[in-house]
């Protein structure tokens, strides 16, 4: 399907069409933020008339790379060559002037202006100093037509679905004779038909010789549309491959990293034997939400750790949020201890003894200007209501207890949350939920971006909590961690559950294979053997 356009000579595994020079070449780019190395010596080449996928998990450095190219961030070392010449852009506008346009996931257009204005404002045709509306609409219609989009350029942008808005954003980008078009997660809020429409436009542009950078978490989409890809991990370049010659498994391994053989499994003592026979603590049947999760089931038994594995955007976080009522479901039932419950808000979930620690610690967890003690007690206090403050003695006892139990440092209840390190912030958030004595604990990436010591402590705590009878949903991008802790494994992909199995003798390569989407029959054969 992707090969229907102009013939591209494909040689070795990672080799681009040999006879042409790249439109853009980024060489040995390094960027640091404070003490954090966001990119180190990453090189990327973009060729005219190709769709180039930029692959990597959270924190791999994809967005940083894009922002380095478009002049949002300044580069510490390395060079950007445009058409062979050295360039460095001071702003996105400067990049745009050089033919590099970016379209972000959140459409950066204005909903209350017309489609034509959104495409052309800033360089609109004028007559006698005034905007020449008819000419502007004509030009807009022409450009849109060239992309195969037939909408009225005089209609308001906000009246159109996101997919169309995204196409308008692309139209704005290509109207300035873009040589390079960067699409940052353009498909994450589109449905299948809309994605096809977008791909159609991308193919046309590729045919016209535009170099397209495509960022997406959906492997199928990458394999459908992209020609070549660059894979990043933890700010480093780990590979440049032709899509056609790269099995999905290899790609997933590159993205997630770690040689499979070196993995050692720390089996935690299995404590879930009681679970299987009894009724589940929580049972979600056919829950879904448009644009975030396809119909999915999940059961959770007492004292069990269920690990959710999958890439970013696979639906792992989305499922967790639905179970907590952070988002509401469009369909499906949630049964808690045999009773059907509709989780309309986090508050309902908390009242049912469900807790959820978000992956986005900073914006969805911390209350940075409050003290450690207040942050710890927030959820308990919220469920008591403001009229029943927690007695001072109880406050002190609880805070003291959890500062010690989780080894939070500095063990100062009056320290401001914003001054704590990441690992300790995470522990405080864990304490916030443990203080509410939950039956079900949903942890979304509780160990991301924290130091090794804190990570090990949190892992140990999770195992300990499960042994006490708490049911835990554990989400992590690190498969080793998921495998080490889980009793049962649920694998997500493309917003749905694609596999579920007890965590007996499963290793990372098995999981990788499932995520990479190798056919079920193959997998079953492998299991049978």
């Amino acid at each position: 399907m992707t090969q229907m356009d102009a013939p591209r000579v494909q040689t070795g595994a990672g080799d681009p069409p040999v006879e042409r020079a790249p439109v853009i070449e980024m060489r040995d780019i390094s960027i640091t933020f404070g003490s954090v190395q966001a990119l180190s010596e990453v090189s990327v080449r973009l060729y005219a008339g190709e769709v180039h996928a930029l692959m990597g998990e959270n924190g791999a450095g994809k967005s940083t790379l894009i922002k380095a190219l478009t002049g949002v961030y300044s580069i510490d070392s390395g060079v950007v060559l445009v058409g062979g010449e050295k360039h460095s852009f001071s702003s996105p506008l400067a990049a745009q002037a050089a033919g590099i346009s970016t379209v972000y996931q959140e459409v950066n257009l204005v909903p209350n202006l017309t489609v034509a204005e959104n495409m052309l404002l800033g360089r609109e045709p004028r007559r006698f100093g005034a905007v020449h509306v008819r000419e502007m609409n004509r030009r807009a219609r022409e450009t849109l037509h060239g992309l195969g989009v037939d909408i009225d350029p005089g209609s308001l942008l906000g009246e159109h679905p996101i997919a169309i808005q995204q196409l308008v954003a692309i139209a704005r980008a290509v109207d300035v004779d873009a040589r390079v078009l960067i699409l940052d997660e353009p498909t994450s809020s589109l449905d299948a038909d809309e994605v096809q429409k977008l791909f159609e436009v991308m193919r046309r542009l590729r045919g016209q010789g535009v170099a397209i950078v495509f960022v997406s978490h959906f492997l199928d989409q990458v394999y459908e549309i992209a020609d070549r890809m660059t894979i990043l991990r933890n700010g480093r370049l780990v590979g440049e491959r032709m899509v056609a010659g790269t099995p999905q498994l290899e790609l997933v391994k590159l993205m997630i990293g770690r040689e499979l053989e070196t993995l050692e499994r720390l089996d935690r003592s299995q404590s879930s034997s009681a679970g299987a026979s009894s009724t589940p603590v929580l049972k979600a049947l056919g829950i879904s939400r448009k644009g975030s999760l396809e119909v999915t089931d999940l059961e959770l038994y007492e004292g069990e750790v269920v690990g959710l594995a999958g890439l970013l955007g696979s639906g792992r976080t989305e499922l967790a949020r639905l179970l907590f009522g952070a988002d509401t479901v469009d369909s499906g039932d949630v049964t808690i201890r045999g009773e059907r419950r509709r989780l309309r808000s986090p508050r309902h979930a908390i009242d049912r003894k469900i807790s959820f620690s978000s992956e986005d610690r900073k914006s969805e967890g911390l209350v940075e200007d409050l003290t450690v003690a207040d942050n710890m007690l927030l959820a308990l206090q919220a469920s008591r209501g403001w009229l029943r403050p927690i007695p001072q003695a109880t406050r002190e006892r609880l805070v003291e207890q959890y500062l010690k139990a989780l080894d939070i440092r500095p063990a100062d209840p009056t320290a401001l949350m914003r001054n704590m390190s990441g690992g300790n912030q995470q522990k405080v958030l864990l304490a916030r939920w443990l203080i509410t004595e939950p039956d079900i604990l949903i942890l979304d990436e509780p160990t991301r971006g924290i130091d090794i010591g804190a990570k090990a402590q949190i892992q140990a705590k999770v195992a300990e909590l499960a042994a006490q009878g708490i049911s835990i949903v554990f989400i992590s991008a690190e498969l080793e961690e998921v495998l080490r802790l889980s009793d049962r494994l649920v694998v997500m992909r493309d917003r749905r559950k694609i596999d579920e199995r007890p965590n007996h003798g499963v290793n990372v390569s098995d999981v990788l294979r499932i995520i990479a989407g190798e056919s079920r029959s193959e997998r079953e054969e492998a299991e049978g053997a």
């Binding site: 202006l113 005034a130 308001l156």
Partner: protein, 334 residues
Amino acid sequence: MSATTVPAASSTWDRVKGYRPPSRFLPVIATLALFVGLFGAGGVRYEGFSDPQVLLSLLIDNAFLIVLAVGVTFVILTGGIDLSVGSVVALSTMIAAKTLEMGWSPYLSMTAVLATGTLLGLLMGLLVHYFDIQPFIATLAGLFLARGLTYLISVESISINDETFTQLAFKTIRFGDYYVRWTAVVALLVVAVAAYVLARTRFGRTVYAIGGSESSAMLMGLRVAFTKVGVYVISGFCASLAGLMFSLYILSGNSLHAIGMELDAIAAVVIGGTLLTGGRGYVVGSLLGVLVLGIIKTLISFDGTLSSYWIRIITGVLLLVFVVVQRFASRRQP
């Protein structure tokens, strides 16, 4: 798009019947309907209400408020607010009265008034854009500043006796039995120019773009800073022009003039269908909003039994209705 155009065979009537105004015009149409309804109701109930001179007087009596509302519309369209306009009107009357008293030429006096208002607008715009101070608080400072300056010039009321001013104030344009004053013509002119600027210039479209999403407007490479400061300059200019017109109307300068007039202007803009969160609205709507408030005033004075405070209560109720309806209308949109 040819597939969607109306087949040629259909009659004009069919097209008229099938015409649905774009949803963006609905608020203005609602305000127009409200105005026509109120005028009709007045005509049925009170003798002499349906006289066209009543409409013309409406324009004359509210000319300054129309100009004020036009300026505020620019600011609100960007998602800001201008609380200072009432005080700037008072300051303008005072500067005009004082300078005339000091023997300045009337034209120099007018220039001084307009320059002061524009400068105050510029200052507030700079505070809002470059120092990231909330519009409401920056223009609050403007409110205090203008009112303080007014008192600084004179605590007492100063009357205006200048010949040019009084002539301008009473000069009428007659069409047979009917007449308007120059201020009404100026107000309509201001509305026309503002409507043109908003609809047809890059500056005007950028005003809407900022109201829709300031960060997007920035990423689209539009001149956000210039435009954001510009709307406050326009608002300041309009407020001082309205102040001039108000001093022609009332022929005195007084620090107690125009107290709370900013609320009337803001209310008129909202009743005219402009979204207080920015990005949607038309100056024609603001004109209609002023006229609706004006006709309620006229109705109450025709009635004679209703007290004037009902104007404020009714204004509040209209505000409530428009705000709540717009809230739910915007919620339904994707």
